[in-house]
């Protein structure tokens, strides 16, 4: 972080504080047009070979894994999965929680970082939001098809009916239905609204033809007038304000599925914050996993800079440490409960038949992010990528530990039996990975993957007072001044 000292306002004590220069969010003094060209180029130019190499296999895997897997499942029965009367929720719910966790970074980046004026988000929020949408779509498949009679899943909707029966609003699963569908809907609105000005940009660059018509419709006729921008910015702020509690609530509600149960190892008040931290943790890891390669492939190094990666690495470090704390706190609470069922639940997680899952979870989620304390690690993309991959895998294991290990060793030892996933379990999970990648590839191909308008706005000259040197002595350095905290 290079810093230069310039003149700064006096504090009330009269001490002149040095102003640290913020690192530039856009390197090389790129022009507005360059930004437009570069980002729209991704959509307008022919896709690199790598795109096809990724898209075709992912789409095939998605078709076979998700399409074929679900067909077999629905036509035959949930028994094609590995779930048993002992472990009623096996891989499907592990995968559900995994994907829904990943689906947190997008909205979090957009909403919370927007509210906290973290301008560095602008380069990554679009892709992260897309990731949210796709991850929630992948996640939704599991609980929806996990029910034994999927053709009666509409029983979950409070529709007036001749049977005069209603839903149970005390059930966390019903909360989940509302939470996940709300989250998906609001995320979709947020994503789409954010994209409207950029779609207009693409529209305006298109030659007349079908493309222009389609982008024209999607852009809704956006003109970029300030009378639109004014409401638009308010809408964006409101959505951010709504999404912030929403994003926290979704994984809290998912965690209620566990926390409100009586199952030892699930029934714990630490779950909501623990799950939310875990979701952010895993979500950022997934953003890194996807953005680092995309940055190279599309030459977006000037927009997604090392600063972005550094910031995300720091968030991973923070949330990873929170998650690690939660893991340890769980153990302590179990020990402190004095109840053999609680203590055993954790004893068997650590040392029981699935000890390897616990070991994987601990080392990948708690130990691996600790490397981010070191700047060298944060700056080496290979290391960052490796740790992000570790976290992705580790977070999957966390859900596996929570769900499978616990259910396989519950209250009555006479009932204990371990769980083995079936081929269909694995097929569907791989299928959703394929679906996620394929959708992401399509997103890169057809939609602006970086928020063009917001990125332009972070340029220093975007400030209307850029030229007023007298009023703003620190002009030209940054869009918003940040003063170092007073040292007392």
């Amino acid at each position: 972080m290079a810093s230069t000292t310039t003149t700064a306002p006096e504090t009330h004590t009269g001490v002149k504080l040095p102003v640290l220069e913020r690192e530039k969010l856009i390197l090389n003094e790129r022009s507005y047009h360059w930004i437009t060209e570069r980002i729209c180029g991704v959509v307008e130019n022919k896709q690199p070979l790598l795109w096809w190499l990724l898209f075709i296999p992912s789409a095939l895997i998605a078709a076979i894994g998700v399409g074929g897997g679900l067909f077999h499942l629905v036509s035959t029965g949930v028994g094609v999965w590995g779930n048993t009367n002992r472990v009623m929720w096996g891989w499907p719910i592990v995968n559900f929680v995994f994907w829904i966790g990943i689906g947190h970074a997008g909205t979090l980046i957009s909403a919370i970082l927007f509210l906290t004026r973290q301008n560095w988000r602008t380069s990554i929020n679009r892709a992260a939001e897309a990731m949210t949408i796709f991850a929630v779509m992948c996640a939704g498949i599991f609980p929806a098809f996990h029910v034994g009679r999927v053709w009666f899943a509409w029983f979950l909707a409070p529709v007036p009916n001749a049977n005069a029966v209603w839903q149970n609003f005390k059930s966390p699963l019903l909360w989940d239905v509302f939470a996940v569908s709300t989250y998906f809907t609001v995320s979709l609105i947020f994503w789409f609204l954010g994209m409207v000005p950029d779609l207009a940009t693409i529209r305006d660059r298109c030659k007349p033809g079908l493309r222009k018509v389609i982008y024209g419709i999607l852009a809704l006729g956006w003109r970029g007038g300030n009378r639109q921008w004014s409401h638009y910015e308010m809408a964006y702020l409101l959505l951010a304000a709504l999404s912030t509690p929403l994003v926290l609530s979704v994984h809290s509600v998912v965690s209620f599925d566990f926390a409100t149960s009586v199952v030892p190892g699930w029934h714990t008040t630490i779950f909501p914050p623990y799950f939310v931290a875990g979701a952010i943790f895993g979500g950022f890891a997934m953003v890194l996993t996807i953005m680092i390669p995309a940055r190279f492939v599309y030459g977006l190094q000037d927009l997604i800079t090392m600063k972005h990666i550094d910031n995300m690495a720091k968030i991973i470090l923070l949330t990873g440490t929170i998650v690690g704390y939660a893991y340890l706190m769980e153990l302590f609470v179990a020990f402190y409960s004095g109840a053999i069922y609680e203590m055993d639940a954790f004893k068997f997680r650590i040392a029981g038949p699935y000890w390897w899952a616990y070991a994987a979870m601990m080392s990948l989620n708690v130990i691996s992010p600790q490397f981010f304390w070191f700047k060298a690690c944060r700056e080496n993309l290979w290391v960052v990528m490796a740790i992000a991959m570790c976290v992705n895998v580790g977070m999957w294991f966390e859900r596996f530990v929570i769900i499978v290990t616990t259910l396989a060793r519950m209250w009555l030892p006479g009932d204990w039996k371990t769980f083995s996933p079936s081929a269909q379990d694995q097929m569907l999970f791989v299928g959703t990975i394929g679906m996620f990648l394929a959708l992401f590839m399509l997103f890169l191909r057809f939609l602006p993957c970086i928020n063009i308008a917001e990125v332009k706005w972070t340029k220093p000259e975007a400030d209307p007072h850029f030229d007023d040197k007298e009023h703003h002595p620190d002009h030209g350095v940054k869009a918003e001044p940040a003063y170092q905290k007073e040292l007392v």
Binding site: F169, K170, L242, S243
Partner: protein, 184 residues
């Protein structure tokens, strides 16, 4: 086509930067224009003040939207769980004390309804979707979503006069001043 009389939409002028646009806007505001707008590829901070725009009314819409959602959820849950068909579920009370169990759904529906209000409220306020607009006919206007900064003053404005307005625009730094006409 050629015989049709075209209606004048207004003048479109380009400005070189956000700062230029800002200052120009202040001047047009001071000149007392009402039907005019600044066009930029990104939202320019403070331009609302420079244009004399009021704070958006959208938050009020959303507030009521959210309240509706919350009330809907509460009414739905309470009526079905307590009033119409109370069921015995883990011996949890079927009276007012069961309401905490409804909080998650109340919260979610609050957000959901608010989200929809934001979307539809915004579209209503900015009058979109509107796919056809005279400005789109301008040869330079496409740069408004790329790197162009424009001001358009509409002919509908009572202060509009074909010559003076053009002069005003030129005076405050507008370039490429263009008379935009509605196609028909």
């Amino acid at each position: 086509m050629s015989t049709t009389r075209k209606r004048v939409y207004g003048y479109l002028a380009e400005f070189k930067s956000a700062s230029a646009l800002y200052k120009a806007a202040e001047k047009i505001r001071d000149a007392g224009f009402r039907k005019w707008d600044c066009y930029s590829p990104y939202p320019i901070h403070g331009l609302d003040g420079a244009m004399g725009l009021k704070r958006s009314i959208l938050p009020w819409f959303v507030f009521f939207g959210g309240m509706t959602g919350c009330a809907t959820a509460f009414a739905l849950a309470y009526s079905t769980q307590v009033v119409i068909y109370p069921t015995i579920v883990q011996a949890k009370p079927a009276n007012i004390f069961t309401v905490p169990a409804f909080f998650p759904v109340m919260f979610e529906l609050t957000i959901l309804f608010s989200g929809f209000t934001v979307l539809f409220g915004l579209l209503a306020l900015i009058q979109l979707p509107r796919l056809n607009h005279p400005l789109f006919a301008s040869k330079q206007f496409h740069r408004a979503t790329d790197d162009g900064f424009f001001i358009a003053i509409e002919a509908r404005d009572p202060k509009f006069s074909p010559n003076q307005t053009k002069e005003l625009l030129a005076e405050i730094g507008g370039a490429n001043i263009e008379l935009v006409e509605e196609e028909d």
